[in-house]
């Protein structure tokens, strides 16, 4: 028998970016909140010591900060007629574990989606007609608009102290910023980071080709900053160990560096670490979540009743917990019916290396979101007529720190080992840089998440199964972006370039991005979405699901800006309306 604890106002499952934001908001509103996190407690001075944080082998290749797959993983396949096999080793994406979640080892690339991204179906239908969206492409509009989210994007950017340059202030285009972005109410809280040589060369070449380069908005502080909660960040030192690593310098915005110093002091907040939620409990009629069951550090089963259950365990764990708890109708790709697991999407990336003979670039000087970008080919910022695809992505040159196990590109025709390889890297390492592309992935009927029939986790429960592949739309779009990237790369004046397009089926091996999306999406119709626009479950109104889980499809931008904005948007609705009529749907059907 599980030990039953006294009830609380809200229980959060998982304590990464979304969990920390929501806990802060709800405790601010006076609620008693418990967050349950299955990983360890970790904080900057005790766990991310700059004395040994710069260890490529330990933190990236040996996965010290990431999810331990021996406990649980997922199974993967490209198509329903294949047998899914377990992801035995981390690769394409790096799942977080522990306080701060994947936010601890993110880059800090903070983007807003385009206004048209949030209307992906209706916008493309209006502009390009019915033929632009094949029947199998199950994209949907978000039930919220850019204007709905604008104040919440702003709130996250100020929480993080984002360093950047506005391109559109209240509708007026600003020199030096991104002219394609949606209008923002005010400047970024901090000026852009200093721009190293290679991204500057990219910016110059891009501008000569008529593109619109600007500095990447970065949650890597360009100067000392105190956020609206009174928490301080220190200036980034460009040490080059940011993406995939923890920052020892209080310069990268994470839950630890922006929220926890305030939240952890609140008497109304309790965090339980090394406790894994195994189930969301429901009332007999299935219409109310009564709380969660978890295993504590000693393996004891404990029940935490709560008035409100909030899933903030990362998209893949959110979906799996819904399936394991029997909440919502599982998606069936054969009929297209069901909502849990529907519209799983991802990101498609490619790159172009540029090799110089005469320019020392010192590529190891870097920061997670340091670079020069263009959005000329993102979303619907360009005319897609006749191109055979919708959507787009950014192209840019990011200097994130060329840690050498991971980054030692060689020119076309050079082998990956042996004497010629050695000559090439010794000659080129300091004089090579990489233009990258980062494209949208539309939702597709055959791409989805469900429970695996064969493989189990360490507790004996079914693993999540991911069925996913890139479709023609993604490949055409990504090839188009790679061509645009190659044009700029060629114009940078190096000795030679090498394009690395994304070919073939999605492969779990090379790291791509941790931008998994969908599976319990938001919408206006309970038949095709799991939550309403406030991330509130249609079926179980006191259950909210945070994270990129809500995205109907993935756009060409990194997700977390929008993930955070949606979390604040939901928090606002909970505080201003839901708490006054608790357990009631915020949207009537």
């Amino acid at each position: 028998m599980a030990t039953k604890l006294p009830s609380v106002d809200a229980v959060l499952v998982g304590f990464g970016w979304t969990g920390a934001i929501m806990a802060q908001e709800l405790t601010e509103a006076g609620l008693n909140v418990v967050a349950i996190e299955r990983g360890d407690w970790r904080d900057t001075p005790t766990d991310f010591s700059p004395a040994y944080a710069q260890d490529e082998l330990r933190y990236y290749w040996r996965h010290e900060l990431f999810q331990r797959l021996n406990h649980d993983t997922l199974t993967i396949r490209n198509r329903t007629n294949q047998t899914a096999l377990p992801m035995r080793q981390l690769g394409s994406f790096l799942l977080g574990s522990g306080v701060g979640g994947a936010g601890v080892h993110w880059n800090g690339q903070v983007w807003r989606f385009l206004p048209s991204d949030l209307k992906a179906r209706s916008h493309n239908l209006d502009r390009y007609g019915k033929a632009a969206i094949p029947a199998e492409m199950t994209i949907q509009d978000y039930p919220v608009s850019y204007d709905d989210l604008e104040p919440h994007y702003d709130k996250f950017e100020y929480l993080c102290g984002v360093s950047g340059k506005a391109g559109n202030l209240k509708g007026v285009i600003q020199p030096g910023g991104d002219p394609f972005e949606g209008p923002r109410q005010r400047e970024y809280p901090n000026p852009p980071l200093d721009m190293p040589y290679a991204p500057t060369l990219f910016g110059k070449a891009a501008a000569e080709l008529g593109r619109h380069p600007f500095p990447h908005p970065a949650a890597n502080a360009s100067r000392a900053y105190t956020n609206p909660l009174g928490v301080q960040l220190g200036p980034c030192t460009y040490c080059g160990f940011c993406e995939k690593y923890a920052c020892g310098n209080y310069s990268k915005a994470t839950a630890q560096t922006t929220i926890l110093p305030v939240l952890m002091r609140r008497k109304t907040f309790t965090l339980r670490t090394n406790c894994e939620v195994t189930k969301i409990n429901l009332s007999a009629d299935g219409k109310t979540a009564t709380g969660v069951t978890y295993l504590d550090e000693t393996g004891q089963e404990i029940e935490q009743p709560a008035e409100m259950v909030i899933l903030s365990a990362y998209i893949l764990h959110n979906v799996r917990l819904l399936l394991l708890s029997g909440i919502g109708k599982p998606y069936d790709p054969a009929t297209g019916e069901g909502v849990v697991g529907r519209n799983y999407a991802y990101q498609i990336t490619s790159s172009v290396n540029v090799f110089f003979d005469d320019k020392i670039l010192n590529p190891f000087v870097g920061a997670g979101a340091l670079g020069t970008m263009i959005n000329d080919f993102n979303g619907d910022n360009f005319d897609h007529s006749g191109l055979g695809f919708i959507g787009g992505g950014y192209v840019g040159l990011m200097q994130t720190g060329a840690r050498p196990i991971e980054t030692h590109p060689v020119p076309t025709g050079t082998p990956s080992w042996g004497a010629d390889w050695k000559t090439a890297i010794a000659r080129d390492y300091l004089k090579t840089t990489t233009v990258s592309t980062h494209g949208a992935v539309m939702a597709h009927r055959g791409n989805y998440l469900d429970l695996d029939p064969t493989y189990r986790d360490a507790l004996g429960r079914p693993l999540l199964r991911m069925t996913f592949d890139f479709t023609d739309n993604e490949h055409r779009m990504s090839d188009y972006l790679t061509d645009r990237a190659s044009e700029i790369a060629s114009a940078m004046g190096g000795r030679e370039i090498k394009a690395n397009p994304r070919k073939g089926s999605w492969d779990v091996v090379p790291y791509q991005t941790t931008h998994n999306t969908g599976g319990a999406i938001m919408g206006d119709d309970p038949k095709t979405s799991f939550t309403n626009k406030y991330l509130q479950s249609w079926d179980v109104p006191n259950l909210f699901v945070l994270g990129a889980t809500a995205f109907p499809q993935q756009s060409g931008y990194n997700p977390t800006g929008t993930v955070a904005a949606l979390t604040y948007y939901a928090a606002d609705a909970i505080k201003s309306r839901y708490l006054k009529a608790s357990h009631q749907p915020l949207v009537q059907t």
């Binding site: 360890d40 970790r42 005790t46 010591s49 700059p50 004395a51 040994y52 710069q54 260890d55 490529e56 082998l57 330990r58 290749w61 040996r62 010290e64 331990r68 797959l69 021996n70 993983t73 993967i76 396949r77 490209n78 294949q82 096999l85 377990p86 992801m87 035995r88 080793q89 200093d194 721009m195 190293p196 040589y197 030192t237 460009y238 040490c239 310098n249 320019k359 020392i360 010192n362 190891f364 000087v365 870097g366 050498p404 196990i405 030692h408 990956s416 080992w417 042996g418 004497a419 050695k422 890297i425 010794a426 390492y429 300091l430 064969t454 073939g504 089926s505 999605w506 492969d507 779990v508």
Partner: protein
């Protein structure tokens, strides 16, 4: 516990000698479960003892691994070879510990055939795959003309490794040659370019060759120094040779 200090050159040149006593007391040099830090804990690393002998590789395995390392990153005037950089010792230590056991990996069966996009699907964790693959390579070559890999001329070794990487060498049902080469190449790159505390990249030699600055904490002075050579020598987590007390 006493340990057998073995001269570095003896280890490198005579792998056979060095690993004649596998699993000796030098296991005491390993921290925790074989890494130089403790898994899942925030802890300062303890550098690998470079004088110690192999603890995982058998004599035959060491001979193969040293010979393969010498072809993957050969000796020349450009910079250190993988052997000179200490990669074989690095590999031994990695395989002896948690990594070799696949401690963090999902290793439950059933084991199926990879469609090509499903990543590592061997039933063996890294250490086990080295063991079966090197044995299968030995068997394969002895059927061929008798000479073991490490006794063959460099050109023949290169040709064999190329075939292995292209999936052209059939190692039988137990070991996928291409998967093994992929793992070996990845691990050699790890050893060659990782921080020297793990036993490879000895004296920061691989970093010096390419110009990587290492574990430098504050790079602000160099962000806007466009085109200028980086003025400082590389440094590792444990400092650099010039900082150590002589004598």
């Amino acid at each position: 516990m006493p340990h057998n200090p073995v001269d570095r050159r003896a280890v490198l040149g005579l792998g056979l000698l060095a690993c004649a006593a596998p699993l000796t007391s030098s296991a005491a040099q390993l921290t925790g479960a074989g890494m130089v830090w403790r898994a899942n804990q925030s802890a300062w690393p303890t550098a690998t003892d470079l004088r110690a002998s192999y603890v995982y590789f058998t004599a035959d395995e060491a001979a193969f691994v040293e010979a393969a390392c010498a072809r993957i990153v050969p000796a020349d005037a450009t910079g250190p070879s993988a052997v000179e950089a200490g990669v074989p010792l690095f590999l031994d230590r990695q395989l002896a510990g948690d990594y070799g056991k696949g401690a963090r990996w999902y290793m439950q069966g059933p084991f199926g055939k990879n469609t090509g996009t499903q990543g590592y699907q061997s039933q063996y964790p890294p250490a086990g795959l080295y063991r079966v693959a090197i044995k299968a390579i030995g068997d394969h070559l002895s059927r061929d003309n008798g000479a073991p890999f490490h006794k063959r001329p460099a050109a023949e070794q290169d040709a064999f490794l190329k075939d292995l990487s292209a999936g052209k060498v059939d190692l039988g049902a137990d070991a996928d040659g291409k998967a093994y080469f992929t793992l070996l190449l990845q691990n050699v790159m790890e050893g060659y370019f990782s921080d020297p505390i793990y036993g490879g990249n000895r004296d920061l030699s691989a970093w010096k060759m390419i110009g990587f600055s290492g574990a430098r904490y504050d790079q602000r002075p160099y962000v806007l120094a466009y085109g200028k050579p980086y003025p400082l020598p590389p440094v590792g987590i444990g400092g650099r040779p010039a900082w150590s007390v002589k004598g």
